[in-house]
Structure formats: structure tokens, C-alpha cells
Amino acid sequence: MIEPTTERELADAVAGASGPFAIQGGGTRGIGVPVAGERLSLAKLSGISLYEPGALTIVAGAGTPMSEIEAALRSEGQMLPFEPMDHRDLLGTDGTPTIGGVVATNASGPRRLRAGACRDSLIGVRYINGHGAAVKNGGRVMKNVTGYDLVKLMAGSYGTLGVLSEVSFKLLPKPDASGEVTLRDLSLADGISAMAAALGSPYEVSGAAMMPGEGSVVRLRLEGFENSVGYRGAELIKTLKKFGPAEMTMGGDDDWRAIRDVSVFANKSTVWKVSIKASDVPALLESALAPSHAYDAMLDWGGGLVWIGADDSQLAAHSAADAVAGAQALHTDLQTHLARIGGHATLVKGSDDLKVRVPVFQPEVAPLVALATGLRAQFDPRGLFNPGVMG
């Protein structure tokens, strides 16, 4: 394993590389096909180099632990707007989640609805390219259109286009208070309609999640000054009257952590993350998948994000074949359906057996595959960075 302590050392390691790297922050987000390559750990490129609360900006080394960033922000009453998921619960990994890993996976939680994804808050990156040169893009100011936006390109590229050494974010003040409006026992379609009505209201809902099925629950989060949260909750209940009685509670900081981290699926062997137009969810879950597959689902982002989870007994029930075959069939049906209606599915958790049999990421149309291949050839001509992870 290589563990550079400075950007210079990292650049030298890449320049002198003779074979591919498996790039790692804290090793908590192993998504995609396992990479055969020398482990390159960013853990020592750690530390906050600039934090200006009055300008709502922070700059940190890619290996900086999330806990360190969160503690610094908390002390000034600020936060990363996009509420990044901690993958440890779901994936059963241990290790220290890093800010670089958050960026590489574009990890974004329930507040993504209002505040955008990780890529929307990311304002600058430094990375090492395939030639071993340090490249910067963006910077530390929140409005910047100088040249192409490679900042966004690096977010969610799973380390395949460069090795991040430093990242900068814009921040938000942490809300004073939060509250929740809850609706119960709605059908999937009604739950989605209720969330759409809430998100189409002026009451600034900052989280909209649903656990469908028996005893279904729809949860709507409100954040801001205490009086304002109370007021908006009351108005929201009026807006949602036709969906039945709703309940309003004032809440705490951590109420949405389990949704953010998809903790309910911690025991599932296989989990997919689906990005879809919310109103297409009932057709996906109830018509396309339910007749031939057994699984559970959880909706976030008002239904725009669907987590699908199954354990091996659910998967094996699909046919006489084994769980891997069942998972493969579900995977294929899911991606085929989405290719037709728009959206995409990623296999976030699954056995290595499964991951080599199916495309972990939704395959793209031919012109985009050509562009992706072209970009990789330009950014990483020697194929050093997490080869094969994104296809």
C-alpha cells in the first residue's frame, strides 16, 4: 500500500507508477467491481487548510475524516448542505469516512432535495492526473464560471479520472430547529402524491421520505427558525388534508440519520440505488418488479431516490436458482425498465460474484460511452485509476 503524506508525494507516486491503483479514502464506500491494483490511500492527505465561516467556505485535504470536518463546522453552527451519507451501516464496512470519498461518490443525503447534491456544494478541487501532474479547477469562491467545470466532473467519478488531493465546499448555516410532519397508511401512489404536494408548496420541505408497504409512513422534514418550522408544519398539514390526518413533531439533529444512511437495509445482501422521476415509481415497483421479484423499498427525495434491498432468501425465491441468479435477474429487469423510461440504477451493495456478472452502473447510450472512454483516455492514458470501476 502507498500512503503519500503530501500532494507532491502523491504526484510522484502516480508519475512513477507501473501498474493500476485501487484508490481509497477511508475504505468505507466500496462500490463497484473490486479493483485489482496497488492500494493508494489518501488518509494522510488530511486536514482543514482553510475555514472561513463568514464566507461559508471550507477547504480540506481529500483524506480528511468526515468527523473532523463535521466537528469544525458544528463549532460555528454550519454544515455541509447536502447531508452526505455514511455508507458504513449499509455496507458493513469499518474505517474512517473521508471527505474525498464523499466527493468521489457524490454522496448526498435527504437534503439533496432542497440544497442540491455534493456536486452542487463542491466549489473547487485539486487532483493528480494520469501523468502525475497536479491540476486545479474551481477554487474557494462560490460563484465561478472561469473555464470548464471539471469540479462537477470529478464529483461522482469514483476516482476514475484523477486522484483527488484537495476539495473545497460552500456551506450553509445549520438550521436552528427541525420538525417533522408524518402521514400514515398511504398507498405508494398516494404517498408519492402527498410528497409531491408538500414539495410543490412554499413551505420549504427539506426531506421527504417514505417507507411503503404495511403500515407505510411518509415523513416530511422542515428546518429553520423554530417559529417558522412550527408555522410551516401547521400550513403543510392543511395543504395535505386530503391525504388523511397528519401529525407534527419538533425534532432533533439526528432524526434523519437512519434515512440518510439507509440503515434499514443494513441486513440486506443486495441493495440498489435508483434515480427516477418520482411519479414513475409506482409503475416501477408495482408493475415492473413486484410480479417476479421479492424485495423491500425505501423512498427518499420525494420518491426521486428509491433504495431497493433484498436478502438472499428474497432473491433465491425468484427461481429455483440461487440468490446471485435472482439478484442478477432483478438487476437486469431494473436497468432495462429504467433505460426505457429514463433514470438509472446502481448496484450499491452485492456480492463480488454478482458485481462481475452485471454492469454495476446503468449502461449509457453509445455516444456517451464514447465520450466516457475518450475522457478516460485523456485524463488517465495509462489506465491507472480504479480501472473498470465505472465500466
Partner: protein
Amino acid sequence: MEMPTPDPRILALKSRLVQRLREVLPHDAVIDDETETRVYECDALTAYRCPPLCAVLPASTEEVSAVLKICHQEGVPVVPRGSGTSLAGGALPTADCVILGVARLCDVLETDYDNRFIKVQTGRTNLSVTGAVESDGFFYAPDPSSQLACAIAGNIAMNSGGAHCLKYGVTTNNLLGVKMVMMDGTVVDIGGAHMDAGGYDWLGLICGSEGQLGVVTEATLRILPKPEGARPVLIGYKSAEIAGACVSDIIKAGVLPVAIEYMDRKVLEVVERHAKAGYPDCEALLIVEVEGSPAEIDEQLGLIKQIAAKHDPVELREAKDAAEAGRIWLGRKSAFGAMGQINDYMCLDGTIPVSSLPHVLRRIGELSTEFGLEVGNVFHAGDGNMHPLILFDANKPGDLELCEEMGAEILKLCVEVGGCLTGEHGVGIEKRDLMNVQFAPQDLEAQMRVKDVFDPAWLLNPAKVFPLADTAARRAQPEAAA
């Protein structure tokens, strides 16, 4: 500002090219008459003009594709154009290019309130996107001051911002999908009505690429429910330092205004004469706007007033109703127009860390004395996006050059304090040759390699964004296309 010498091979090609374009477009959609091509000789950076070889106005994605295929085969550069309001010369033609205008692509294709998006053709103006959903209580958030005229096409190409982006973000944060035609005519759909596009972040890459990666013909945009209400407060201060400290304190206090706008004495004087907004006599004026229900607005404005009062304001005036709010905004909204009436001006657009505001304003004042050119400052203070307006006389020989020189000094200053050359207007030709101030060679090389992938022959808007010397070799190979 230098532009590449037109390629004689292409100039000689004109009649054949026009004929081929007429084979795929209606007759009136190909403009080759020299009196008519003049319409397209410049954008809002009017100091630079050059009529194109010809202009085309396709009315469908298929027509755009057919045009690009022909230009690709013939090795002819193409400059996409929306409404031509770019302040950076982004839509400036060269004599050997085809202007591809999307003005005839202006339909609304779909509105969906349940999933909160609108799908439009990109020639549609920014304001008319909001116009299409407003009566149902929705709006499209990015609101450049030019929104009456500018097109979504240009907004996407420049990643345009607006007064309200502190809360709602800029174009890239509100773009869900595009239909784009590549230089070789290939049509590709990226993203859609779902919240995150898959694969690499193509949308993020295309947004702000200044028409150099593809021609965007359709866009899926996020729309938002209108807030219950909004109200501004106006705060006057004795100095830029104090106003800067107030901005920083407001942000730290946890209020998130939708807008924090700043005007300095020079702008205030002109605006007062022009619009009679009743602004106080002071060095620095802030307009801070918040949104919500009446009670929510009261609470937030209460907090802001408390903070503002600690800094000993010259005046603190809260809008009690819509009429007063309108008066507070009146001057800000007419600032550019008012400045334009008294003088020619060049509008800069650098961004700086908010903490450097007082230092940068002081240095701009010194530069103004040094160069003997007056400067007015009006800008988005919450995000540090400055708009220094340098006043000059276009009829006075040498004044434009002097103004450009001073502009370059100000932009270098922005970079020096940790900021950037452009916050929302784009690089175009205007800041092209300053890119080396902000970026090292390998930083620019990484960006140019993206263009190599999308447009290997460098035919799309080739003379923009990057220093000409750095792109010369790449631009000199139009045959590579054929």
C-alpha cells in the same frame, strides 16, 4: 482583443456552403446577404464586431444536426448563439464561421408540477420560462438581469447566475437534462426529469462550456414553488469596510437571505439622478432580501436589523409593503441602465472571498486614480461576485484600451486574493488572455482535453475561453474533421 485570421479556404467556400445549408433548411433560415449577416456581428460586448460568413436559424434539433454535419464535413467553425446578450464576447463571430442561432427553437415541450420540472427548447428566453409556470405558483430560479432577453441556451452555455442565486444557486444547480447535438451531428440526450443524471456528470461539464462542446437544443429545468412573499431591507453605511463586516455577520448569524446586493457611492449618485429611488447619501448601500410568510419575514428581518444596527448604519429602512419593496429594488434594477446613460462602461465580473471585500474595493479605488478612469461598484455581496463598472469614452482614441488594461488589473487582483476572473458572465474573448493568470498550463490543458474529446477538430466556438496561443495548434486542423 485579437481574433484568429480568417481561413481563406473557408472564405472561398461560402457559396457552396450556403447552397448545401439551403438543401437542409428553409430558404429564409440561411442568411448570407452581407447587410443581413451584420445583425449577428456582435453580442453585448459591442466593442468587438465581425459579421460571420453566414448565419442559420434552424427550427428543430434535426435541422441543427443537419447543419452541424455539413459544417463538420466542410471543416467550417460554428458559433452557437442564443439571444446575443453575452457580455464576454461569447457569441462574437469570426469572418470564417457560421452563426447557429437557436431563436426559432422556443417552445415549451412539457410542464410537470408533480415532479417540478419544465422542458423547453433552448431559444426560449429566461423570463418566459418563469412566465409559463408562474400562474400556477412556480418559477424558474436563475434570474440574470438580462432575463427579458437572454435565452436558456446562453444561460446554460455561460452557467448564468442572478440576484437570487445565494439561495437558489446558478444555472448548473437547476439544470436536470439536455438534448445536445455534437459537432458531427450526433444527437444525445443527457439526464432528464430525474434528479441525478447517471455516469459522469455530463450536465455539469456542459453547463458553462461556452458553446464549445455541443449545441444544446432542449433543456429540462427544475422549477420551484413560489415563496409566500419576499421583502428587502436597505442599509446604508459610512464605509465599504463596515458594509463588508455587516455582510459577514449576517451570514454567520445563520440567516440565509435570498439576495445581498451592494452599491457604492458612484453608482448611488447616478442611480439617484436616473431613478430617484430615494437612496440615502452614503458610501456603501446594502439591499438584503428575505423570503417567507409575513411572520417569517418579520423574524428574519428583525435579526438582520439587529446585526445591521450594531454597525452604526447611516440609514436602515425596511420595506413595509410591496410598494416600498419596489422602490428599494428600483435603483438596483436600473443601475446598469443608468450607468449606461451617463457613459460607456465595461462591466467586470470577478469573484472574491467575501472577507477580501474591503481590501479589493480600496485597491479598485487606487487603480481608478492611477488610470484616471472612474469606477462604480454594484454587485452580489453575499457570494463575492463583484461587478466593477469602469467608465470610459468609446469615442476617445485609446480610452477603450486603457479601460481594458485597468480591467485586467482588477481581475488579476481578484485572482490574487483567492478569487476568479468571472463569476457569471463567462470568459468568451474578454478574459481569454487572462486565463494564464488564474490557471497553470496543466490546468488549462486538462480543460482543453475535454474539448478534444467532444470536438476533436476544434470547430465549435474555437477562438474563445483559452488563450489563442495555447489553442493555435488545435485550431489549425479543420481537415481532421472531414
